[in-house]
Symmetry: C2
Subunit: 142 residues, 2 copies
DNA sequence: TTAGAATCTCCAGCGACTGGAGGATTGAGG
DNA sequence: CCTCAATCCTCCAGTCGCTGGAGATTCTAA
């Protein structure tokens, strides 16, 4: 095996994604089928590391596999079929912005909880009220 | 049934959480066991609406049921056992801040994609690079 | 009073992993 | 060269967090 390629275990270590998960991503087509060695072992390169790290971060941020698949397609093909890609990208952008807004509201409340706690004061907590507030919800359908 | 109480279907409509999901949350203890009518139907009130909306938003933001359970416990008992609660709340706070940072990086890149697309320019996309960047990752273990 | 809507419980299925069983391959130390 | 732990392979069953269908009961409104 050339020194420039990685075994699945090395890829796992460098990305923080578990080995079975990497195989799972390949099985559902999020990662391309890895080239195999003569003894049938998967080989990876630096591009695999970047792609897999992207997938991992996006998953941690709560994006579904299908959304990630779309984002990857967009990224793989910049300046591609713009009309469709644009609609897609804008939808993702709106979703991302919505999450940021709601996370900031949550952060402010939890921060207040922590501060109140540090000062050892008994104060009421509004975490639920803040996040339950319909105004913070960007969905229309309810 | 008193007019001030809600049936499960009404709760579902007001929170955007599906009926089976509400029953599921009760089964795993995220929601308390709902009082029943004489004919065994669950009844809810305004507090249920707030609690359930909180759960919904937190889930959408990617928090696990276990984290939500902890947050709810904290919120239910403000000024409670401060030492433990403080550690917990601070951990959640760090996690929330990490998510915001990473979402902002993603937002900036997707925004650039959308803008590039609107101008109909063929330009390279750095979404993967940005999110794959180890610097944006606040985990230590890899 | 009776059709249809809403609820109940139970249970099976899905998305996204996660890990164990059983077997082959590799590569560092003796 | 040989061994043996480490690493990899495939297959498959299990977990978490829902989601929805089946069949039975209850409520509501004409």
């Amino acid at each position: 095996m050339p020194t420039s390629t990685l075994a699945i275990g090395a890829l796992a270590k460098r990305t923080g994604v578990k080995i079975p998960t990497i195989r799972y991503y390949e099985s559902i087509g999020l990662l391309p089928e890895a080239p195999r060695t003569g003894s049938n072992r998967r080989t990876y390169d630096e591009a695999s590391v970047r792609r897999l790290r992207f997938i991992r971060h996006a998953r941690e941020l709560g994006f579904e596999v299908e959304a990630i698949r779309q984002l990857l397609t967009l990224a793989d093909d910049p300046g591609g079929p713009c009309r469709e890609a644009d609609v897609l990208a804008r939808a993702h952008l709106a979703e991302i912005e919505s999450r940021i807004t709601r996370l900031e509201a949550l952060r402010d409340e939890v921060r207040r909880m922590v501060e109140g706690c540090a000062q050892d004061q008994v104060r009421s907590c509004h975490v639920i009220e803040v996040l339950a507030d319909h105004a913070h919800c960007l969905h229309e359908r309810h």
